[in-house]
Amino acid sequence: MRSLTRKLRASPTESWLLGLLVVISVALSFAAPEYLTFANLFNLLNTSSVNLIFAVGLLVVLISGGIDISFAVAASVVQYVVATILIDAGGGGWVSGVLLAAAVGIALGAVNAIFIYGFGIISIVVTIATFNIFFGLLMFVTHGVSIYALPEWWTHRTVLLSFQQANGLWADLTLPVLIMAIGVAATFVLVRHTTTGRQLYAFGDNPEGARRLGINIAAMHFIPYCWLGMMAGIGGLAQVHYTQEVVPNALIGRELDVLAAVVLGGARLGGGRGSVLGCVLGVFLVSVTQNGLNLLGISPYAFKMIIGAIILVAITLSSEQLTRMLSVRRRTADQHG
């Protein structure tokens, strides 16, 4: 028990996110009885899988002190490239699909890294530019036409775990959840259990200090953006499995939702901070809120507004300066009292 409290104290962001998630879940299970059913919870997992795959990729970039808003469009590009090549090649399968998607994603991530590292351009500017380049070229080349005739393996709904509830509804856990679990686990190993992961934190916290320590700066640029590119490619693959079609502008706008969720999970713009657990909790907090609003019958038009407000409040409350300000005040109050 004591080690648990110590753990909670060591990671305050994760703790309060977890607490908030529990509070919301308890409240929702009373307000909307269908919330706490396997059908709904599995559905939540299925729908947030793609965002989670993107989120852990983005987390690595944020830890290294960068930012990337081009990954969702890159995922759309990957979907098109993979669909076109594999249909031409006669279908392919999951192995070739994942390998190809990862390779194309890594290549697109490397484009960002080249401009950020090679020319010293600030990452937000590069990725705003590549966002428009990727999207403009994608729309130009495809004329905005969607692809529906996809290979069988890709769109066939693969169910990992399935059972019928007492009320007759089926609870299904689908393939994207497995892909997500692997992606999250791989990212966890990368940032927590490898030297590269430690170096990414060091570089994100203090690039100049990291350089003087002899850390390979080029690698610190290429690894995060290529990792995100890979996750974007694989996430794109999973998203097609879920929606059964390739639409050029389906993922546009997703990057900001994911960014907001990751930052909510404690990653800091400016680098050196963030954990996989926090990132997962951040994504779940957003999707649980959305799910809850949906179950409570609130207009979908209000979702974005409410989520924007939540993030704004969360940023304000979780900021270090505010915490310090409050604790200083409390301390002086103690001294006076």
């Binding site: 937000i124 500017v125 590069v126 530019a129 428009n132 999207f135 729309m139 974005k304 924007g308």
Partner: protein, 347 residues
């Protein structure tokens, strides 16, 4: 790095000739003027219809929306931040004016309603800026993040209130604000020029401008030298919001309708205009006059491409390529030292 303090530069401005001009408008302005002439020359060769009154008119009517949003983006960038919510804030301000019109007579509303509505629109813009500025100044949260969540919130609010549709049906007397001319110059253009003059004077002469440059260079040093950095930061975002409000009102008058998401694509171009105009992406440096020139170049490019019938999506890709090209050129000039001292003090 010699010119760290623009406000103090005026004393050294007495040099004569080209050097004097360069000192007055900044070294990048001359390069931009040359680029502008080159762009105009190239388009006139490719399209005989380019150098006509019609092109000038269409450019002059489109430029103001973009220009006002760029001004809204400029101050946050110079202070080392970014305001990603400019386009949607402009939308929400336009919506405010639209509701005031609809609440007080719709098509038959009088000029007084317009004044009240515009004031309300500017207040809404200022309020979004106030919230962002307070959060940024008092919690130290990153401006990209704060403006991003504000953007999500404002867009959500707008979509919630309009249900994704557009609002139209305004009195006829507001049409001149979007379409009228005065002495042959479009009225929106006059508003833009006035806004640019105010911004230029404020940034190069005013206390607020001075504080903005200082904060962009080094916020801690600025605080220690006695500038109330929190107040300056809040003011920067409030003014940015007010500028979005003006842009929103002009957009309403030009399209005779308001829709959330209108002008969304301008966001990239405002950032592009600032960086093309030599503003340092890390803050601290950048001139209003150069940004104006950069803006005119972008508008001429856009009008020219339109005239040549270029694909809209190809144009989007081209804006991105141009942004990277500008940044690579600035990197090269800082590194290899061509173009004089290289833009605005990087490297």
């Amino acid at each position: 790095m010699v010119e760290a303090v623009p406000g103090l530069r005026s004393k050294r401005r007495r040099a004569s000739g080209l050097a004097g001009l360069a000192a007055a408008v900044g070294p990048e302005a001359i390069g931009l003027a040359v680029a502008l002439i080159a762009v105009i020359a190239i388009f006139s060769v490719f399209s005989p219809r380019f150098l006509t009154r019609a092109t000038f008119d269409s450019a002059a009517f489109q430029l103001p929306e973009l220009g006002l949003l760029t001004l809204a983006m400029l101050m946050p960038i110079i202070s080392g931040g970014l305001n990603l919510s400019v386009t949607f804030t402009a939308n929400i301000c336009g919506l405010t004016l639209a509701w005031v019109f609809h609440a007080y007579g719709g098509m038959d509303a009088g000029p007084m309603v317009f004044l009240v509505g515009s004031l309300a629109a500017l207040c809404v813009g200022a309020a979004t800026g106030l919230v962002m500025g307070m959060v940024i100044a008092f919690t130290g949260a990153h401006p990209i993040l704060v403006s991003l969540s504000m953007m999500i919130f404002v867009r959500g609010l707008g979509e919630f209130l309009t249900r994704g549709g557009d609002i139209s049906g305004f009195p006829d007397f507001i049409r001149p604000i979007g379409h009228g001319t005065l002495l042959g110059i479009p009225i929106p253009m006059l508003i833009l020029i006035a806004a640019f003059v105010v911004w230029h004077v404020m940034m190069s002469r005013g206390r607020l401008g001075f504080g903005t440059y200082m904060i962009g260079s080094n916020i801690e040093a600025t605080r220690y030298s006695g500038v109330n950095t929190k107040r300056v930061l809040v003011m920067i975002y409030v003014l940015s919001g007010v500028m979005c409000g003006i842009a929103g009102i002009i957009m309403l008058a030009r399209f005779n309708s308001v829709r959330v998401g209108h002008g969304e694509a301008y966001l990239l171009i405002t950032v592009l205009a600032c960086f093309l105009g030599g503003v340092n992406p890390f803050g601290g440096f950048g001139r209003v006059t150069s940004v104006f020139l950069a803006l005119v170049i972008l508008q001429v490019l856009s009008s020219g491409l339109n005239l040549l019938g270029a694909n809209q999506h190809l144009a989007t890709a081209m804006w991105g390529i141009l942004l990277i090209a500008v940044m690579v050129l600035r990197w090269a000039s800082a590194r290899f030292g061509f173009f004089g001292r290289g833009g605005s003090g990087e490297g």
